[in-house]
């Protein structure tokens, strides 16, 4: 079972739920920028999705403009995340639902009219060599594979879970409602919890963080977004030593332009931690392109945790319903 990459698209990588257990060695998580879209794509093809988005099967993370792929065997796929035109041998392939692609068929994925990252999962998962317990591509730290290029052949792990008999079930006329899981509206505020050093911002900067919009600089990537807008300042310089950071941490370097760390966040940083994006809003950020806008809204840790638990219950419910459909 394999997929041949005929054209790679703008930036296509293999991603899963990321690396765990090696942060003490300075190894960051990496993994999907929009982990929820990845999990739903995996659910739609019958791959296990576990709580806490670890141990996900690996899928393709597609950025802004999609690849052109040939499926060398009958393959069950699902596309989630950003809207992306998808055609198989001239016929549209609908997202947010399973679809069977026949051996030899070619899938062409176009430019995303809305959003920044789409996920293409295959039943069984993409079978690249795991490195430090994950198949994810950490572009910046050069762990896992590399950015895909034309001519690459990706093996697919075989699965016995989905067989040709239940293609009938799969062909049913249904799809997931993407609305709770894909929000391309650039106006939706990104909720943050005040960080450890938020009180050290001067009054004007504390107001500006929530009252003004920031632009995601062109020099932004999977490691993080550089934000341009109001220049933020501390009341007085802070003497800090390097401490842990995670995806969603907003740091303030001396220049005054915040840096918002994303999937390939390093494991530690020495800049003031002024805010932390709540986990349920990270997929929204992952769908904003360079040049896009971000407006922050303050929320509480309790609210963040409550939303997280709600989201996990909703995802578990969807996974159960989809599994029932797939397995008839």
């Amino acid at each position: 079972m394999s997929i041949t990459v005929l054209a790679a698209g703008m930036l296509t990588t293999v991603q899963d739920g990321g690396r765990s257990g090696h942060a003490a060695l300075g190894v960051g998580r990496a993994g999907a920028m929009d982990p929820v879209a990845l999990r739903l794509a995996n659910a739609l093809v019958g791959n296990d999705i576990l709580v806490g988005n670890v141990n996900n099967a690996s899928a393709l993370e597609i950025t802004l403009r999609g690849p052109h792929l040939r499926f060398d065997n009958d393959t069950l796929i699902a596309i989630t995340g950003a809207d992306i035109p998808a055609h198989c041998d001239g016929k549209p392939v609908l997202p947010w639902r399973p679809a069977v692609l026949r051996a030899g068929s070619e899938l062409t994925l176009g430019a995303m009219p809305r959003g920044t990252r789409s996920y293409l999962a295959v039943a069984g998962g993409i079978d690249v060599m795991p490195m430090l317990g994950s198949r994810s591509t950490d572009i910046n730290s050069k762990l896992g594979g590399r950015v895909l290029a034309a001519g690459d052949v990706l093996a697919i792990a075989t699965t016995r879970k989905i067989t040709s008999e239940n293609h009938r079930v799969i062909a049913g006329n249904w799809s997931l409602d993407p609305r709770p899981w894909f929000d391309p509206d650039p106006q939706t505020p990104i909720r943050v919890i005040a960080g450890t050093h938020f009180p050290h911002l001067d009054n004007a900067s504390q107001r500006a963080l929530f009252a003004t919009a920031f632009r995601i600089d062109a020099d932004s990537n999977r490691v993080g977004y550089r934000l341009r807008g109001a220049t933020l300042a501390l009341r007085e310089p802070l003497e800090l030593v390097s401490a842990g950071v995670v995806p969603g941490t907003v740091q303030l370097p001396p220049g005054g332009d915040p840096i918002l760390l994303m999937a390939e966040a390093p494991t530690c940083g020495g800049y003031p931690r002024i805010a932390q994006v709540i986990t349920v809003d990270l997929p929204r950020l992952a769908q904003r392109p360079p040049g896009g806008m971000v407006r922050f809204a303050e929320t509480s840790l309790d609210e963040a945790q409550t939303r997280y638990l709600e989201r996990e219950r909703a995802l578990a419910r969807i996974a159960r319903i989809v599994a029932e459909r797939l397995h008839g």
């Binding site: 942060a23 030593v241 390097s242 842990g244 932390q276």
Partner: protein, 240 residues
């Protein structure tokens, strides 16, 4: 001993903070708590990583959800962790106590900033090298990039400000000083620290059974390599 602060780092991680200084006592507490947490294998804990004076714990709140819904996950895991923090003591393993020797080619093409450091420190180049090789260092933490060690024990006479403009690329194996810190670049990385030498050792290789040469808590010493003892293999490693 001052008490540790456990504070949220968002809704899926927390920091256990002991202070905001680079010193051996605070770092020993961070290493002790890291070891205690690794041993405790708390459910839903995805990663535990020590820094100079803190420990970062990443966890899945869903595993710490309270069936009775009286407490939210952070309060529950923080309470459990604070029990561990109070009783943790740093006991280095025998392997950590045995210093690893890091051979270094100081200066010249391998340490472009060594002369600048000597001028800044008002010391001769030989004195800088001697002082850098003298201490028994301890790895406080790894970070910045996979396998990058931040070391405790640098002679205060060698503290030096970072370069005004960071280099776009510091070669793999570069031994460097930034402020009060010294460390080793495991791979080619951008960096603003002063480059004083280079080691032929491979600090991080994900394909190795133990990917990182140095773990937090590990003792190490630097040894100056003389030009005539460099083997062909080492020269290849130095110029990789």
């Amino acid at each position: 001993m001052s008490s540790a602060q456990i504070e949220p780092l968002g809704d899926c991680a927390l920091l256990i903070r002991f202070g905001e200084r680079i010193n051996s006592a605070l770092n020993a507490r961070a290493l002790a708590v890291t070891a205690a947490l690794q041993q405790a294998k708390l459910p839903g804990v995805r990663d535990v990583a020590p820094a100079y004076a803190s420990v970062c714990v990443q966890y899945d709140p869903a595993i710490w959800a309270d069936p009775a819904k009286a407490l939210l996950p952070f309060a529950r895991i923080a309470a459990r962790i604070s029990e561990l923090v109070d009783n943790a003591a740093f006991v280095p393993t025998p392997a950590m106590r045995t210093s690893i020797e890091i051979p270094v080619c100081y200066g010249g093409e391998f340490g472009l900033d060594l002369d600048d450091l000597a001028r800044h420190a008002r010391l001769s180049v030989d004195e800088v090298v001697a002082r850098h090789c003298a201490p028994d260092y301890r790895v406080a933490m790894l970070g910045f990039a996979p396998g990058f060690p931040y070391l405790l024990g640098l002679d205060p006479a060698l503290h030096a400000p970072r370069r005004a403009t960071p280099r776009a690329r510091a070669p793999a194996g570069s031994v460097a000083i930034g402020g009060a810190q010294t460390g080793i670049y495991p791979s080619e990385l951008p960096g603003g620290w002063l480059l004083i030498g280079r080691t032929p050792l491979t600090l991080f290789d994900p394909a190795r059974e133990t990917p990182a040469l140095l773990a937090p808590g590990q003792r190490l010493r630097f040894r100056a390599m003389s030009a005539d003892e460099i083997s062909a293999g080492e020269l290849a490693a130095l110029t990789r």
